[in-house]
Protein backbone atom coordinates (compact mmCIF):
# COMPACT_ATOMS: atom_id res chain seq x y z
CA UNK A 1 0.00 0.00 0.00
CA UNK A 2 2.83 2.34 0.93
CA UNK A 3 4.68 1.58 -2.28
CA UNK A 4 1.53 2.31 -4.32
CA UNK A 5 1.18 5.72 -2.67
CA UNK A 6 4.82 6.48 -3.43
CA UNK A 7 4.32 5.50 -7.09
CA UNK A 8 1.22 7.70 -7.30
CA UNK A 9 2.83 10.75 -5.74
CA UNK A 10 6.14 10.44 -7.54
CA UNK A 11 4.36 10.11 -10.91
CA UNK A 12 2.38 13.24 -10.02
CA UNK A 13 5.07 15.45 -8.52
CA UNK A 14 8.73 14.39 -8.72
CA UNK A 15 8.46 12.70 -12.12
CA UNK A 16 5.69 14.92 -13.45
CA UNK A 17 5.38 13.97 -17.10
CA UNK A 18 5.07 17.53 -18.38
CA UNK A 19 7.24 19.53 -16.02
CA UNK A 20 9.99 17.04 -15.15
CA UNK A 21 10.06 14.62 -18.10
CA UNK A 22 8.97 17.17 -20.72
CA UNK A 23 6.43 14.93 -22.42
CA UNK A 24 3.17 16.18 -23.89
CA UNK A 25 4.30 19.79 -24.25
CA UNK A 26 2.01 20.39 -27.25
CA UNK A 27 -1.32 20.06 -25.41
CA UNK A 28 0.31 21.65 -22.35
CA UNK A 29 0.84 24.87 -24.29
CA UNK A 30 -2.21 24.52 -26.52
CA UNK A 31 -5.05 23.80 -24.11
CA UNK A 32 -3.90 25.66 -20.98
CA UNK A 33 -5.50 28.97 -21.97
CA UNK A 34 -8.71 28.37 -20.05
CA UNK A 35 -9.26 26.56 -16.77
CA UNK A 36 -12.28 24.53 -17.90
CA UNK A 37 -10.70 23.22 -21.10
CA UNK A 38 -7.46 22.52 -19.18
CA UNK A 39 -9.24 20.38 -16.60
CA UNK A 40 -11.34 18.70 -19.32
CA UNK A 41 -8.20 17.83 -21.26
CA UNK A 42 -6.61 16.55 -18.04
CA UNK A 43 -9.53 14.24 -17.38
CA UNK A 44 -9.54 13.00 -20.99
CA UNK A 45 -5.80 12.26 -20.90
CA UNK A 46 -6.07 10.54 -17.50
CA UNK A 47 -8.90 8.38 -18.83
CA UNK A 48 -6.92 7.42 -21.94
CA UNK A 49 -3.78 6.71 -19.86
CA UNK A 50 -5.56 4.37 -17.46
CA UNK A 51 -7.52 2.55 -20.16
CA UNK A 52 -4.46 2.20 -22.37
CA UNK A 53 -2.43 0.81 -19.46
CA UNK A 54 -5.20 -1.64 -18.58
CA UNK A 55 -5.12 -3.03 -22.11
CA UNK A 56 -1.43 -2.71 -23.02
CA UNK A 57 -0.21 -4.49 -19.86
CA UNK A 58 -2.03 -7.77 -20.57
CA UNK A 59 -1.17 -7.51 -24.27
CA UNK A 60 2.52 -7.13 -23.45
CA UNK A 61 2.73 -9.88 -20.84
CA UNK A 62 0.08 -12.21 -22.27
CA UNK A 63 0.66 -12.06 -26.01
CA UNK A 64 3.89 -10.30 -26.92
CA UNK A 65 6.34 -11.72 -24.34
CA UNK A 66 5.40 -15.43 -24.82
CA UNK A 67 5.93 -15.02 -28.57
CA UNK A 68 9.18 -13.09 -28.12
CA UNK A 69 7.74 -9.99 -29.73
CA UNK A 70 8.78 -7.31 -27.21
CA UNK A 71 10.00 -5.14 -30.06
CA UNK A 72 6.36 -4.86 -31.16
CA UNK A 73 5.46 -2.84 -28.05
CA UNK A 74 5.42 0.60 -29.65
CA UNK A 75 3.30 -0.34 -32.66
CA UNK A 76 0.65 -2.21 -30.72
CA UNK A 77 0.56 0.39 -27.94
CA UNK A 78 0.01 3.22 -30.40
CA UNK A 79 -2.83 1.23 -31.93
CA UNK A 80 -4.46 0.76 -28.52
CA UNK A 81 -4.00 4.43 -27.62
CA UNK A 82 -5.51 5.54 -30.94
CA UNK A 83 -8.49 3.30 -30.26
CA UNK A 84 -9.14 4.87 -26.85
CA UNK A 85 -8.67 8.41 -28.11
CA UNK A 86 -11.24 7.72 -30.81
CA UNK A 87 -13.59 6.31 -28.17
CA UNK A 88 -13.18 9.37 -25.96
CA UNK A 89 -13.79 11.60 -28.96
CA UNK A 90 -17.10 9.95 -29.92
CA UNK A 91 -18.18 9.90 -26.28
CA UNK A 92 -17.39 13.58 -25.75
CA UNK A 93 -19.14 14.54 -29.00
CA UNK A 94 -22.28 12.88 -27.69
CA UNK A 95 -22.13 13.80 -24.00
CA UNK A 96 -20.24 17.13 -23.68
CA UNK A 97 -20.31 18.86 -27.10
CA UNK A 98 -19.07 22.17 -25.64
CA UNK A 99 -15.91 20.56 -24.28
CA UNK A 100 -15.52 18.70 -27.59
CA UNK A 101 -15.45 21.95 -29.55
CA UNK A 102 -13.23 23.79 -27.05
CA UNK A 103 -10.60 21.03 -27.11
CA UNK A 104 -10.69 21.12 -30.90
CA UNK A 105 -7.66 19.66 -32.63
CA UNK A 106 -5.93 18.77 -29.34
CA UNK A 107 -8.33 15.92 -28.68
CA UNK A 108 -7.22 13.76 -31.63
CA UNK A 109 -3.68 14.88 -30.82
CA UNK A 110 -3.80 12.83 -27.59
CA UNK A 111 -3.08 9.94 -29.98
CA UNK A 112 0.37 11.33 -30.62
CA UNK A 113 0.77 12.64 -27.08
CA UNK A 114 4.05 11.08 -26.05
CA UNK A 115 3.02 11.24 -22.37
CA UNK A 116 0.40 8.54 -22.97
CA UNK A 117 2.78 6.29 -24.89
CA UNK A 118 5.45 7.15 -22.30
CA UNK A 119 3.30 5.89 -19.41
CA UNK A 120 2.57 2.55 -21.07
CA UNK A 121 6.18 1.97 -22.10
CA UNK A 122 7.61 3.07 -18.74
CA UNK A 123 5.25 0.70 -16.91
CA UNK A 124 6.84 -2.17 -18.84
CA UNK A 125 10.39 -0.83 -18.44
CA UNK A 126 10.03 -0.41 -14.66
CA UNK A 127 8.70 -3.99 -14.27
CA UNK A 128 5.58 -2.76 -12.46
CA UNK A 129 2.83 -5.20 -11.57
CA UNK A 130 -0.66 -4.68 -13.01
CA UNK A 131 -1.91 -2.69 -10.01
CA UNK A 132 1.27 -0.64 -9.83
CA UNK A 133 0.97 0.14 -13.56
CA UNK A 134 -2.57 1.44 -13.16
CA UNK A 135 -1.59 3.55 -10.15
CA UNK A 136 1.35 4.93 -12.11
CA UNK A 137 -0.96 5.79 -15.03
CA UNK A 138 -3.40 7.47 -12.65
CA UNK A 139 -0.59 9.48 -11.10
CA UNK A 140 0.78 10.48 -14.50
CA UNK A 141 -2.67 11.59 -15.64
CA UNK A 142 -3.34 13.55 -12.48
CA UNK A 143 0.11 15.11 -12.74
CA UNK A 144 -0.65 16.14 -16.33
CA UNK A 145 -3.93 17.69 -15.20
CA UNK A 146 -2.18 19.41 -12.27
CA UNK A 147 0.39 20.94 -14.61
CA UNK A 148 -2.31 22.13 -17.03
CA UNK A 149 -4.47 23.62 -14.29
CA UNK A 150 -1.56 25.40 -12.59
CA UNK A 151 -0.36 26.74 -15.91
CA UNK A 152 -3.82 27.95 -16.94
CA UNK A 153 -3.80 30.06 -13.76
CA UNK A 154 -0.36 31.43 -14.65
CA UNK A 155 -1.52 32.30 -18.15
CA UNK A 156 -4.60 34.06 -16.84
CA UNK A 157 -2.35 36.34 -14.80
CA UNK A 158 -0.09 36.83 -17.80
CA UNK A 159 -2.96 38.25 -19.85
CA UNK A 160 -2.98 41.30 -17.60
CA UNK A 161 0.80 41.57 -17.35
CA UNK A 162 2.71 44.27 -19.20
CA UNK A 163 4.95 42.11 -21.36
CA UNK A 164 7.55 43.71 -23.68
CA UNK A 165 6.48 43.61 -27.33
CA UNK A 166 9.28 41.19 -28.29
CA UNK A 167 8.20 38.56 -25.75
CA UNK A 168 4.44 38.73 -26.29
CA UNK A 169 2.69 35.46 -27.08
CA UNK A 170 4.59 32.19 -27.34
CA UNK A 171 8.01 33.37 -26.02
CA UNK A 172 6.53 34.66 -22.76
CA UNK A 173 4.46 31.47 -22.44
CA UNK A 174 7.53 29.27 -22.86
CA UNK A 175 9.49 31.30 -20.29
CA UNK A 176 6.61 31.00 -17.81
CA UNK A 177 6.43 27.24 -18.50
CA UNK A 178 10.13 26.88 -17.72
CA UNK A 179 9.70 28.76 -14.44
CA UNK A 180 6.80 26.49 -13.42
CA UNK A 181 9.00 23.53 -14.36
CA UNK A 182 11.83 24.84 -12.18
CA UNK A 183 9.40 25.16 -9.27
CA UNK A 184 8.54 21.47 -9.66
CA UNK A 185 12.22 20.63 -9.25
CA UNK A 186 11.67 21.45 -5.59
CA UNK A 187 9.90 18.09 -5.27
CA UNK A 188 12.91 16.11 -6.46
CA UNK A 189 14.30 13.64 -3.93
CA UNK A 190 11.08 13.76 -1.91
CA UNK A 191 10.30 10.04 -2.23
CA UNK A 192 13.71 8.50 -2.86
Amino acid sequence: MKSLLIILLSAMLTDNFVLAKFMGICPFLGVSKKLDSASGMGIAVTFVMICATMVTYPIHHGILVPNGLEYFDTVVFILVIALFVQLVETMLKKCIPSLYSSLGVYLPLITTNCAVLGVTVLNIDNNYSFIQSIVNALGAGLGFMLALVIFSGVRKKMEYADIPETFKGVPATLIAASIVSVSFMGFSGLFS
Partner: protein, 269 residues
Protein backbone atom coordinates in the same frame (compact mmCIF):
# COMPACT_ATOMS: atom_id res chain seq x y z
CA UNK B 1 6.08 -18.72 -38.67
CA UNK B 2 8.48 -16.03 -37.43
CA UNK B 3 6.82 -13.56 -39.74
CA UNK B 4 3.30 -14.91 -39.59
CA UNK B 5 2.69 -14.58 -35.84
CA UNK B 6 3.43 -10.83 -35.60
CA UNK B 7 1.29 -10.20 -38.68
CA UNK B 8 -1.61 -12.17 -37.22
CA UNK B 9 -1.30 -10.44 -33.84
CA UNK B 10 -1.21 -6.96 -35.33
CA UNK B 11 -4.04 -7.67 -37.78
CA UNK B 12 -6.08 -9.16 -34.93
CA UNK B 13 -5.55 -6.08 -32.77
CA UNK B 14 -6.49 -3.81 -35.66
CA UNK B 15 -9.62 -5.79 -36.44
CA UNK B 16 -10.69 -5.81 -32.80
CA UNK B 17 -10.15 -2.07 -32.53
CA UNK B 18 -12.14 -1.51 -35.72
CA UNK B 19 -15.07 -3.56 -34.46
CA UNK B 20 -15.03 -1.77 -31.10
CA UNK B 21 -15.01 1.64 -32.77
CA UNK B 22 -17.87 0.70 -35.09
CA UNK B 23 -19.96 -0.33 -32.09
CA UNK B 24 -19.03 2.89 -30.26
CA UNK B 25 -19.94 4.98 -33.28
CA UNK B 26 -23.38 3.33 -33.36
CA UNK B 27 -23.95 3.72 -29.61
CA UNK B 28 -22.77 7.32 -29.42
CA UNK B 29 -24.26 8.42 -32.72
CA UNK B 30 -24.95 12.15 -32.82
CA UNK B 31 -27.65 13.29 -35.20
CA UNK B 32 -26.26 16.20 -37.19
CA UNK B 33 -28.46 18.47 -39.22
CA UNK B 34 -27.78 17.69 -42.87
CA UNK B 35 -28.55 21.28 -43.79
CA UNK B 36 -25.33 22.36 -42.01
CA UNK B 37 -23.22 20.29 -44.39
CA UNK B 38 -25.19 21.53 -47.41
CA UNK B 39 -24.80 25.19 -46.43
CA UNK B 40 -21.13 24.61 -45.72
CA UNK B 41 -20.82 23.36 -49.30
CA UNK B 42 -22.59 26.41 -50.69
CA UNK B 43 -20.15 28.77 -48.95
CA UNK B 44 -16.88 29.71 -50.65
CA UNK B 45 -14.76 28.04 -47.90
CA UNK B 46 -12.48 31.06 -47.77
CA UNK B 47 -12.73 31.03 -43.94
CA UNK B 48 -12.18 34.79 -44.00
CA UNK B 49 -14.37 35.59 -40.99
CA UNK B 50 -16.12 38.55 -42.62
CA UNK B 51 -19.49 37.17 -41.46
CA UNK B 52 -18.37 37.51 -37.83
CA UNK B 53 -18.08 33.77 -37.21
CA UNK B 54 -14.94 31.68 -36.79
CA UNK B 55 -15.13 30.16 -40.27
CA UNK B 56 -17.42 28.87 -42.98
CA UNK B 57 -18.50 25.77 -41.04
CA UNK B 58 -19.12 27.83 -37.93
CA UNK B 59 -21.29 30.22 -39.92
CA UNK B 60 -23.21 27.33 -41.49
CA UNK B 61 -23.84 25.99 -38.00
CA UNK B 62 -25.02 29.39 -36.78
CA UNK B 63 -27.39 29.84 -39.72
CA UNK B 64 -29.15 26.56 -38.99
CA UNK B 65 -29.05 26.44 -35.19
CA UNK B 66 -29.08 30.01 -33.90
CA UNK B 67 -30.85 31.76 -36.75
CA UNK B 68 -28.01 33.91 -38.08
CA UNK B 69 -28.86 36.01 -41.13
CA UNK B 70 -28.44 34.32 -44.50
CA UNK B 71 -26.77 37.27 -46.23
CA UNK B 72 -23.62 37.65 -44.10
CA UNK B 73 -21.17 35.92 -46.44
CA UNK B 74 -19.43 38.72 -48.30
CA UNK B 75 -17.17 36.73 -50.65
CA UNK B 76 -20.13 34.54 -51.62
CA UNK B 77 -22.39 37.55 -52.12
CA UNK B 78 -25.89 37.16 -53.55
CA UNK B 79 -25.00 33.77 -54.96
CA UNK B 80 -24.26 32.17 -51.59
CA UNK B 81 -27.13 33.96 -49.87
CA UNK B 82 -29.54 32.60 -52.49
CA UNK B 83 -28.30 29.06 -52.04
CA UNK B 84 -28.51 29.26 -48.24
CA UNK B 85 -32.06 30.61 -48.44
CA UNK B 86 -32.99 27.80 -50.83
CA UNK B 87 -31.60 25.14 -48.46
CA UNK B 88 -33.43 26.64 -45.49
CA UNK B 89 -36.57 27.26 -47.53
CA UNK B 90 -36.83 30.98 -46.69
CA UNK B 91 -36.94 34.06 -48.88
CA UNK B 92 -33.52 35.27 -49.96
CA UNK B 93 -32.40 38.33 -48.04
CA UNK B 94 -31.13 41.27 -49.99
CA UNK B 95 -27.37 41.45 -50.31
CA UNK B 96 -25.69 44.81 -50.60
CA UNK B 97 -22.53 44.29 -52.64
CA UNK B 98 -19.56 45.69 -50.77
CA UNK B 99 -16.00 46.45 -51.67
CA UNK B 100 -12.81 47.51 -49.95
CA UNK B 101 -11.36 50.92 -50.67
CA UNK B 102 -7.90 52.28 -49.86
CA UNK B 103 -8.15 55.80 -48.51
CA UNK B 104 -4.86 57.10 -49.86
CA UNK B 105 -3.72 58.45 -53.20
CA UNK B 106 -0.18 59.39 -52.19
CA UNK B 107 1.49 57.84 -55.22
CA UNK B 108 5.11 58.30 -56.23
CA UNK B 109 4.30 61.52 -58.15
CA UNK B 110 2.49 63.15 -55.24
CA UNK B 111 4.68 62.37 -52.25
CA UNK B 112 8.16 61.09 -51.51
CA UNK B 113 9.85 58.85 -48.97
CA UNK B 114 11.52 60.46 -45.97
CA UNK B 115 14.24 57.81 -45.80
CA UNK B 116 15.12 54.49 -47.41
CA UNK B 117 14.18 51.42 -45.41
CA UNK B 118 16.39 48.35 -45.85
CA UNK B 119 14.80 46.07 -43.22
CA UNK B 120 12.10 43.45 -43.62
CA UNK B 121 9.99 44.52 -46.58
CA UNK B 122 6.58 44.63 -45.00
CA UNK B 123 4.33 47.55 -44.10
CA UNK B 124 4.13 46.37 -40.49
CA UNK B 125 7.92 46.42 -40.06
CA UNK B 126 8.30 49.85 -41.65
CA UNK B 127 5.52 51.25 -39.51
CA UNK B 128 7.35 50.18 -36.35
CA UNK B 129 10.50 51.89 -37.57
CA UNK B 130 9.93 55.61 -36.86
CA UNK B 131 6.24 55.36 -37.81
CA UNK B 132 6.88 54.61 -41.50
CA UNK B 133 9.25 55.75 -44.21
CA UNK B 134 6.96 58.13 -46.09
CA UNK B 135 6.83 61.89 -45.66
CA UNK B 136 3.15 61.46 -44.78
CA UNK B 137 2.82 59.23 -41.72
CA UNK B 138 -0.82 58.38 -42.47
CA UNK B 139 -0.48 57.23 -46.07
CA UNK B 140 -0.03 53.93 -47.87
CA UNK B 141 3.42 52.44 -47.25
CA UNK B 142 3.12 50.46 -50.47
CA UNK B 143 4.91 47.25 -49.51
CA UNK B 144 1.74 45.25 -49.94
CA UNK B 145 0.81 43.54 -46.66
CA UNK B 146 -2.76 43.79 -47.97
CA UNK B 147 -1.75 42.27 -51.32
CA UNK B 148 -0.23 39.28 -49.54
CA UNK B 149 -3.26 38.57 -47.37
CA UNK B 150 -5.91 39.07 -50.08
CA UNK B 151 -7.44 35.75 -51.07
CA UNK B 152 -9.20 37.19 -54.10
CA UNK B 153 -6.15 38.79 -55.80
CA UNK B 154 -8.10 42.03 -55.77
CA UNK B 155 -5.37 44.36 -54.52
CA UNK B 156 -2.29 45.50 -56.37
CA UNK B 157 0.31 48.17 -55.75
CA UNK B 158 0.02 50.81 -58.48
CA UNK B 159 2.64 53.55 -58.50
CA UNK B 160 3.40 53.00 -54.81
CA UNK B 161 -0.20 52.92 -53.56
CA UNK B 162 -2.48 49.93 -52.97
CA UNK B 163 -5.47 49.83 -55.31
CA UNK B 164 -8.52 47.59 -54.93
CA UNK B 165 -10.22 46.16 -57.99
CA UNK B 166 -13.89 46.16 -56.91
CA UNK B 167 -14.67 43.61 -59.60
CA UNK B 168 -12.61 40.99 -57.76
CA UNK B 169 -13.00 42.17 -54.16
CA UNK B 170 -14.82 39.79 -51.81
CA UNK B 171 -15.10 42.50 -49.11
CA UNK B 172 -13.92 40.12 -46.40
CA UNK B 173 -12.04 42.91 -44.62
CA UNK B 174 -8.79 41.05 -44.01
CA UNK B 175 -6.81 43.80 -45.76
CA UNK B 176 -8.48 46.42 -43.54
CA UNK B 177 -7.30 44.48 -40.53
CA UNK B 178 -3.72 44.01 -41.70
CA UNK B 179 -3.06 47.60 -42.85
CA UNK B 180 -0.91 49.21 -40.13
CA UNK B 181 -2.23 52.66 -41.03
CA UNK B 182 -5.89 51.51 -41.10
CA UNK B 183 -6.32 53.00 -44.57
CA UNK B 184 -8.73 50.41 -45.90
CA UNK B 185 -12.46 50.37 -45.20
CA UNK B 186 -15.36 48.30 -46.48
CA UNK B 187 -18.12 50.31 -48.16
CA UNK B 188 -21.16 49.61 -50.33
CA UNK B 189 -20.26 49.25 -53.99
CA UNK B 190 -23.11 51.55 -55.02
CA UNK B 191 -21.65 54.54 -53.18
CA UNK B 192 -18.81 55.16 -55.55
CA UNK B 193 -17.51 58.52 -54.27
CA UNK B 194 -14.37 58.00 -52.21
CA UNK B 195 -12.11 60.33 -50.26
CA UNK B 196 -8.64 59.06 -51.06
CA UNK B 197 -6.79 60.54 -48.08
CA UNK B 198 -6.59 59.76 -44.37
CA UNK B 199 -4.13 62.39 -43.20
CA UNK B 200 -4.84 63.75 -39.74
CA UNK B 201 -2.32 66.55 -40.17
CA UNK B 202 -3.63 70.04 -40.75
CA UNK B 203 -3.89 71.48 -44.24
CA UNK B 204 -0.49 73.11 -44.29
CA UNK B 205 1.50 70.03 -43.28
CA UNK B 206 -0.56 67.77 -45.56
CA UNK B 207 0.05 70.12 -48.46
CA UNK B 208 3.80 70.03 -47.82
CA UNK B 209 4.00 66.23 -47.64
CA UNK B 210 1.58 65.17 -50.40
CA UNK B 211 0.03 67.04 -53.32
CA UNK B 212 -2.97 64.66 -53.45
CA UNK B 213 -3.84 64.98 -49.75
CA UNK B 214 -7.07 66.31 -48.26
CA UNK B 215 -6.38 69.69 -46.65
CA UNK B 216 -9.61 69.80 -44.68
CA UNK B 217 -10.96 72.96 -46.36
CA UNK B 218 -14.60 71.84 -45.90
CA UNK B 219 -15.61 72.89 -49.42
CA UNK B 220 -17.19 69.48 -49.94
CA UNK B 221 -19.02 69.69 -46.62
CA UNK B 222 -20.63 72.97 -47.65
CA UNK B 223 -21.50 71.77 -51.13
CA UNK B 224 -23.04 68.45 -50.11
CA UNK B 225 -26.84 68.60 -50.36
CA UNK B 226 -27.48 65.49 -48.27
CA UNK B 227 -25.04 66.35 -45.45
CA UNK B 228 -23.24 63.07 -46.07
CA UNK B 229 -19.70 64.40 -45.94
CA UNK B 230 -17.98 65.64 -42.79
CA UNK B 231 -14.44 66.85 -42.18
CA UNK B 232 -13.06 64.96 -39.18
CA UNK B 233 -9.40 65.31 -38.08
CA UNK B 234 -8.56 67.46 -41.12
CA UNK B 235 -9.83 64.99 -43.72
CA UNK B 236 -13.25 64.42 -45.28
CA UNK B 237 -15.25 61.31 -44.35
CA UNK B 238 -18.31 60.14 -46.28
CA UNK B 239 -21.35 58.61 -44.59
CA UNK B 240 -22.58 56.12 -47.19
CA UNK B 241 -25.96 55.84 -45.53
CA UNK B 242 -26.65 59.43 -46.60
CA UNK B 243 -24.51 59.76 -49.73
CA UNK B 244 -26.54 59.86 -52.95
CA UNK B 245 -23.46 59.67 -55.18
CA UNK B 246 -24.25 62.96 -56.92
CA UNK B 247 -20.55 63.71 -57.39
CA UNK B 248 -20.77 67.42 -56.46
CA UNK B 249 -17.92 67.04 -53.93
CA UNK B 250 -15.68 65.51 -56.59
CA UNK B 251 -16.09 68.63 -58.72
CA UNK B 252 -15.58 71.12 -55.92
CA UNK B 253 -12.48 69.59 -54.22
CA UNK B 254 -9.54 71.96 -54.83
CA UNK B 255 -6.87 69.27 -54.35
CA UNK B 256 -8.75 66.47 -56.16
CA UNK B 257 -8.67 64.21 -53.09
CA UNK B 258 -12.20 62.94 -53.76
CA UNK B 259 -12.61 60.47 -56.60
CA UNK B 260 -15.49 58.80 -58.33
CA UNK B 261 -14.92 55.10 -58.92
CA UNK B 262 -18.10 54.80 -60.99
CA UNK B 263 -16.53 52.83 -63.85
CA UNK B 264 -15.51 49.97 -61.61
CA UNK B 265 -18.91 49.91 -59.93
CA UNK B 266 -20.74 49.54 -63.23
CA UNK B 267 -18.49 46.68 -64.28
CA UNK B 268 -19.43 44.58 -61.28
CA UNK B 269 -23.14 44.94 -62.00
Amino acid sequence: MTYLIPIIILAGCGLLAGVLLTIAAKVFYVKTDERVAKISEALPQANCGACGFAGCSDYANAVVNSGAATNLCRPGGADAAGKIAEILGVAAAEVVPMTAVVHCNGNCDATSPQFDFDGVQSCKAVKRFYNGSGTCKYGCIGLGDCVDICEHDAISIVNGVAKVTPLLCGACGQCAEVCPNKLISIKPLSGHVDVLCSSKDNGKITKQSCSNGCIGCKMCEKKCASEAIKVIDFHAVIDYNKCISCGECVKVCPVKAIHSCMVAAEQKD
